[in-house]
Amino acid sequence: MGQFRIVRGAVAFAALLVCAPLAAQEKTGIKPGFALRPGTARIVLMRPTILVGAQSIGGVNEPNADWTRQARENIALALRQAQANVGNAMVEYDEGASGEGPLATEYAQLFGALADSVIEYQFFAGNRLPTKKRNDSFEWSIGADLGKLRSLAAADYALFITTRDDYGSAGRKVLQMVAAMGGVGLKSGDHTGYAGLVDLRTGELVWLNADRQMGGDVRTAEGASKRVSQLLEGFPGKSSAAVNGAP
């Protein structure tokens, strides 16, 4: 146990010094041929996972309750405003009296694992699994059973959204500057997010947008609106004017 900790400490130490390489990476995947005509589908927005915090000097995540609450409100508002751009009816998930909350939570977790797999094995072209080699394929599924949830009966698609923000603290930024003077690259702040659309009839993931370098300060209304337009970038069936029109 003690040995293991030393090794882990050393790895964390190395990670601290080396800035994550920004490899060329795809950010959006869509099932070939998939399109969503405006006004044809009912989309349910699953409970978004939104966490906002600060990053201490040494990189420790400091969760912040106020920022997270602000971000949740701002993003919810921005999503409602973005509805017009999406072109289809979007309602927030409500388990009602179905008692399916635990299952919905499991699916949210499963979606996280699915999105991570897509990022790892599809978006990094050099890292593709043999079954994902072809450029024109996007074959990922969360399982058809999601569509069998009674609380999703009236819907055609489920939209999952996750954002995670750590804002570099003042101390972290000072450390970053000093490190830069010494020629060491150090990252300050961490902003990742992804959004995915699942076809409830088949369980297929028809669209995923994932970015580990998101912009827009979710603590403000304008920033959240920018973030949401980034999250929904390349959303199938969204008019191109809407993409450009976003701040």
């Binding site: 010094l17 201490s56 000097i57 969760p63 939570t105």
Partner: protein
């Protein structure tokens, strides 16, 4: 010794009178100030609680949680009996099916109890000693102070690393001593939670000496596990440089010393505990067997049998354990214990299936077929019925 005598006398007097206020006046038994419906105040604490609230949602919705019956209610009742109805209002208990001897507490009062703990505890008092420890972490706000200590350590380490690299100074020693002081800090927190848990036990009437027994028992199980793996058991009093917890031996001795200065306490409530856990015992045993730790599992079974005798359930579990290891001698013992379990009243048809499979692997085809057919007759619609039918047919 001269100082100890009056304390022992006071303790004896209190044990006789058992008057609440008198106990609270004893400095060794003083509890932290209690704030009903505490709300976090600082940025750090509010952030940690928010994060804990999210984590608690996952626990609440987890498929590993044992929702059936009133197990969680019972565990919480034991906690409430220990820390008092008022204090325990701030706690939610989630029992998770994980065959590991542990429990943990989030800063917001969410308590996670693993079934491995429930399987090993032999009385309410033993369970309470662990619950009280976790509750101690909560009341002493260890989540917050621990977080701050971690941040402080990593912030300093980060500066050291950058400045050391720029000035070409070897900072390894300083970095290691910083880390070591952090781990010493977490060990101190554990020791403080141990002592706090002991106070809850003593004030509630659960015998405080039980806490040390839990760790003695854990050490004995560790020994059995090591021997089962062909290794030499060893316990040290001093913990390692980077250990998060004091060693079990250290904890046991510290708890024994502290409990000796406390009132003797009342009932450990072993019978009540056994009765409450009984409906879940087969499930807890099945999870433990899947750890494939023969030494530790055999130790746990023997410890349960010491209380209740070798019941059909325990014999069945032991047979399953040996069947899983599957040496010829294990298969022989397993088939004997399966039959003993049946004789002791273990009625589930799955016993016939597992006995049949054991006999089959041991080359006793005729007897195996008989047992497998008995299973198929009792469970014609079982999910593995087709497979078992195939086995019966091939062996003819």
């Amino acid at each position: 010794m001269r100082r100890l005598f009056p304390i022992v006398m006071t303790a004896l007097t209190m044990a006789v009178t058992m008057a609440g206020p008198t106990i609270a006046a004893d400095p060794t038994l003083s509890l932290p100030t209690y704030t009903p419906a505490y709300e976090p105040r600082t940025v750090d604490e509010r952030g940690l609680w928010m994060e804990a609230d999210e984590e608690e949602r996952l626990l609440r919705d987890s498929p590993l949680r044992i929702r059936e019956g009133k197990l969680e209610q019972y565990v919480r009742d034991v906690l409430c009996r220990e820390v008092g109805a008022e204090r325990c209002q701030s706690v939610r208990v989630y029992v998770m099916e994980v065959p590991e001897f542990n429990a943990s507490m989030l800063p917001n009062g969410c308590m996670r109890v693993l079934t491995g703990l429930l399987l090993r505890a032999r009385s309410e008092a033993e369970l309470a000693s662990v619950l009280g420890h976790e509750f101690g972490h909560f009341e002493l706000r260890h989540g917050l102070t621990g977080f701050k200590a971690e941040r402080r350590t990593k912030d300093r380490t980060a500066w050291l690393a950058i400045l050391g690299a720029m000035s070409r100074t070897d900072i390894t020693d300083t970095r290691i001593s910083l880390l070591a002081s952090f781990y010493r800090f977490t060990r101190d927190q554990e020791a403080a939670a141990d002592q706090m848990g002991l106070r809850y036990m003593a004030t509630s009437g659960y015998p405080a000496r039980t806490a040390a027994e839990v760790w003695r028992q854990a050490m004995a199980e560790q020994d059995a596990s090591e021997i089962g793996h062909g290794r030499t058991p060893r316990h040290s009093y001093v913990s390692g440089y980077f250990d998060t917890h004091p060693t079990n031996l250290n904890r046991a001795m510290a708890l024994e010393a502290a409990a000796a200065r406390m009132p003797g306490g009342g009932e450990a409530r072993a019978d009540e505990y056994r009765a409450a856990i009984a409906p879940y015992l087969p499930r807890l045993l099945a999870a433990q067997i899947k750890t494939y730790d023969v030494g530790a599992t055999d130790f746990i079974l023997a410890s349960l049998a010491a209380q209740s005798g070798w019941t059909g359930e325990l014999l069945f579990a032991r047979a399953e354990l040996y069947r899983a290891r599957g040496n010829p001698r294990d298969l022989q013992m397993a088939s004997i214990w399966f039959r003993d379990a049946r004789a002791a009243g273990y009625a589930a048809p799955e016993l016939d299936r597992d006995l049949g499979l054991t006999l089959l692997r041991n080359g006793q085809a005729d007897e195996a077929r008989k047992a497998l057919n008995a299973y198929l007759a009792a469970r014609p619609d079982a999910s593995d019925a087709t497979m078992i039918q195939t086995l019966v047919a091939t062996e003819q």
